[in-house]
């Protein structure tokens, strides 16, 4: 993983990755979540269409995890994800053509070294909808 430095980042920089939310990936995520949380098994598998939805949806926590991973992969091992939050505005349908995106909206050098970077993070589908939108704040090191 490449290290990202504060000096190399400016507002308008965009990060993007396609996201294929296959039934297998959703099932794997749900199994991992069960193990990590200790919560009982949820009966509806990735194929189930919940009432009120057109098609099977992706768990909200998985969408946020994908956005978090997008940002942490981008920032590098010496970066620090200070916060990430998102607003769930529409369902994320499993078989949509999804992309996870982040856009640098602000940068601020810190007196004590390093710099803060604000990013808008969102999931976009092929219809141009953004079912999940949020904000991440990342701390990046200065170039040595």
């Amino acid at each position: 993983m490449d290290q990202r430095y504060f000096e190399d980042v400016e507002p308008g920089d965009e990060i993007e990755t396609p996201w294929d939310a296959t039934p297998e990936a959703v099932a794997e995520f749900m199994a991992t979540r069960r193990l990590a949380s200790g919560l009982p098994e949820i009966e509806d598998g990735p194929e189930r269409v919940r009432p009120g939805f057109e098609r099977p949806i992706v768990p909200g926590s998985m969408s946020l995890a994908v956005l978090s991973r997008l940002v942490t992969d981008w920032m590098g091992s010496r970066g620090r994800l200070r916060s990430i939050s998102a607003s769930y505005r529409r369902p994320v349908y499993r078989d949509d053509q999804l992309r996870a995106l982040a856009l640098v909206t602000d940068t601020e050098k810190q007196a004590e070294g390093g710099g803060l970077v604000k990013l808008d993070v969102y999931i976009e589908n092929e219809r141009g909808e953004r079912p999940l939108q949020g904000v991440a704040v990342v701390e990046l090191p200065l170039r040595p």
């Binding site: 507002p11 308008g12 939050s85 607003s87 505005r89 856009l103 909206t105 602000d106 604000k118 808008d120 969102y122 219809r127 141009g128 909808e129 953004r130 939108q133 949020g134 904000v135």
Partner: protein, 219 residues
């Protein structure tokens, strides 16, 4: 002008700050996009004491204020919120009577617009086509909405053509990078809420995407 936006100051589903929007617009202008300013239309409220004029002046961007209210025909953007209008309606209600709202807004020096008109449940097209409602008293709809899909904006355009509505555009931004994605092009600069109300009532305007505003000579 972007006629529809929300900030973290007053809309609980928004993550963008007003200063964040201002910085973003300045950055977009440097890339050749023409964004004059925006109207904050927070959900179900209007606080007359809030003033962003110093911040707006600092960044050279016009910031005006309206409200997004919820009615029996979906969401409605109101510009020129007077004390009288605020007294007549409980802005926190999610089912305001739309006919009265559109009428009183006009009578008290304001102007109301049907928000994200193509959106299911919260847009005018749904209520006209699914519930058989007649859109009396409505002249203008937000046809181009940055939070709607192209299909939903297409539905709003069909509604506008069917009823002869004039159309505006707004980003419906809740986060910084969305501000100015959709806008309304006016023939003259809008620098006050009164000027905006006058233009909406009788002026010449049309919705545009931010890409359509880009100067061809910009680097």
């Amino acid at each position: 002008m972007d006629l529809h936006s929300h900030s973290a100051d007053a809309s609980d589903d928004a993550g963008g700050t007003v200063e964040g929007y201002l910085k973003w617009i300045v950055a977009r202008r440097k890339r050749g996009f023409r964004i004059h300013g925006f109207v904050l239309t927070e959900h179900r409220e209007f606080d007359p004491t809030v003033d962003y004029s110093a911040l707006a002046e600092q960044y050279g961007v016009t910031v005006l204020r309206g409200a997004e209210l919820e009615t029996d025909i979906g969401h409605v953007l109101v510009y020129g919120v007077s004390p009288e209008l605020a007294k007549r309606f409980d802005f926190s209600s999610v089912a305001l009577p739309h006919r009265e709202l559109f009428e009183v807004a006009r009578d008290t020096g304001g102007f109301a617009v049907g928000a994200h008109a193509g959106r299911p449940r919260i847009g005018l097209a749904h209520h006209v086509h699914e519930r058989g409602l007649t859109p009396d008293g409505i002249e203008v709809i937000e046809q181009l909405n940055g939070g709607s899909s192209s299909e939903e904006n297409g539905r709003a355009l069909e509604l506008a053509e069917e009823y002869g509505f004039r159309c505006v555009g707004g980003s419906d931004a809740h986060f910084v990078s969305a501000i100015g994605r959709c806008l309304t092009a006016f023939r003259r600069p809008i620098t006050s809420i009164q000027a905006l109300v006058e233009e909406l009532a009788g002026g010449d305007y049309f919705p545009v995407t931010v890409e359509q505003t880009q100067r061809v000579d910009a680097g």
